[in-house]
């Protein structure tokens, strides 16, 4: 199941914010130098691409990213337990 306990705005946006920061660092890295900096830039941009790749995946839920990390700490256990019960 992909439904999690109701989360507040900052928590919903935590992972998107991380992606945005990685993208920003990647875009800037390419401007700073060449060689390793360019690689860093490309690698950084591939992270949002990898996440977006999931959009076309066949499976549901978070397979490639550690899901537990993005669940709220206390209601998460409750929610996971519920899910386990349902399953």
């Amino acid at each position: 199941m992909t439904r999690v306990a109701r989360r507040r705005g900052p928590r919903v946006l935590a992972f998107p914010a991380l992606l945005a920061v990685v993208t920003a660092v990647a875009l800037a890295a390419g401007l700073v130098g060449q060689g390793a900096w360019d690689l860093l830039a490309t690698a950084g941009l591939l992270l949002p691409v990898a996440c977006a790749w999931r959009a076309f995946g066949r499976r549901m839920g978070l397979a490639s990213v550690d899901r537990a990390r993005y669940l709220p700490p206390s209601p998460a256990g409750h929610c996971l337990a519920q899910n386990a019960e349902r399953a």
């Binding site: 946006l13 401007l31 700073v32 060449q34 490309t42 691409v49 977006a52 959009a55």
Partner: protein, 381 residues
């Protein structure tokens, strides 16, 4: 009673807020989508324009230089190209980064519009004229991308679409929260029908590409303002530098001028020279634009202004902040600053942006269709 009433009121407020943001997202998104789809589709091959140009019209190999040929001065290169265009004056002299080739741009007068300028490549080892630059298929694409062949006002209109796109992105993030509150990041519900699947894809693709899309969109908007920004710089700082009198004739040697400028700013190379009166020049000076070695300093040019009559260096300057912003906006829009791998990343992100626009459009269409179906069903009953 009162407490529950307040709670209801709060819920109503929240719903109204969501509906308001939804309206903002829908309308800014819809208006800019038509143009953004065009920009994304024409922009995709433009990411690789260098590779495409080279593949479609490979640069002819430079002829061998006879032994003992002295290296011509820059003045001879300018003279050779200008002689081929009678009645025209030189505006710019620029240098190829990879081959010993110089480009001389001429026009009837220094203030001629860009379309009336002619750029001629010259062999920097022999001062022999090289064949004129070919028209590339990507040049046509670029014109469509920039102004759809409709001039500067159309360019600004597309810039405004970039602003709408930014508003659509911000409102999209605001809406992402209530829609994803109960879903783990990256969830695409495949078992709830096409509309829910499309919504989840739109949300995931949109939020993943958000920063890239915002940067490329807004730097694109900034690029559409290149004309007015450059004119502002010209009318202000550049005019102050060369105030008084008409456009000066170039009496000093270009070769000497460039050498002097390079000595004034060690560790740089000359990217181009602007002759008196040219858009990037001053009325009284030869302006030598120097660039550094890193991608950053390669874009942030240092102009050296040399008096066209006396050869005296009058100013070594940084460009004003708005010109620096304009120059930095270019690589961040084109994605041409990190080699081929970065270009591929740019291309994939461009395709993903198309997917965001497309899923957004489909969401709007399916909603209209379902509303119409409901209406027709009601009418039939």
């Amino acid at each position: 009673m009162e407490a529950s009433g307040r709670a209801l009121n709060k819920q109503g407020m929240r719903q109204r807020t969501i509906l308001l943001w939804f309206a903002v997202h829908k309308w800014t998104g819809l208006v800019c989508t038509a143009f953004l789809l065009m920009l994304c589709v024409t922009g995709l091959p433009l990411i690789f324009h260098e590779e495409i140009d080279r593949a479609m019209a490979p640069a002819a190999a430079l002829p061998p230089v006879p032994a003992g040929t002295p290296t011509p001065t820059l003045d001879r290169l300018v003279a050779a190209a200008t002689a081929a265009r009678p009645g025209e004056v030189p505006l710019y002299l620029s240098f190829d980064e990879e081959r010993p080739v110089a480009y001389v741009t001429t026009a009837r007068s220094p203030d001629a519009p860009g379309v009336e300028m002619t750029t001629r490549p010259v062999d920097a080892r022999t001062a022999a004229l090289l064949p004129p630059l070919p028209q590339h298929f990507t040049d046509v694409l670029l014109r469509i991308h920039v102004d759809m062949f409709l001039g500067e006002k159309a360019e600004w209109f597309l810039g405004f679409m970039g602003v709408l796109f930014a508003v659509a992105i911000v409102s999209g993030v605001v809406l992402y929260v209530p829609f994803m509150r109960r879903l783990a990041f990256g969830t695409v519900r495949l078992d709830r029908g096409a509309r829910v699947r499309r919504l989840d894809r739109h949300n995931l693709l949109g939020v993943a590409t958000l920063l890239w899309a915002a940067v490329v969109g807004l730097t694109g908007t900034l690029n559409t303002l290149a004309g007015p920004i450059t004119r502002h710089w010209q009318a202000g700082e550049l005019a102050a530098l060369g105030s008084g009198g008409g456009i000066a004739a170039t009496r000093v040697s270009v070769e000497r001028t460039v050498a002097d400028a390079l000595r004034a700013a060690p560790g740089t190379r000359a990217q181009f020279v602007a002759f008196p009166g040219a858009p990037y020049g001053s009325r009284r000076h030869l302006a030598v634009y120097l660039q550094g070695a890193t991608p950053l300093t390669r874009r942030l040019l240092t102009p050296v202004f040399v008096d066209a009559a006396s050869g005296r260096i009058d100013a070594v300057g940084q460009m004003p902040w708005y010109m620096s912003a304009l120059l930095l906006a270019q690589p961040l829009h084109f994605g041409d600053y990190g080699g081929l791998p970065l270009k591929f990343a740019w291309a994939v992100l461009d395709l993903l942006t198309i997917a965001v626009l497309w899923t957004g459009l489909r969401l709007w269409l399916s909603r209209r269709l379902s509303a119409r179906r409901e209406l027709l069903a009601l009418a039939a009953a």
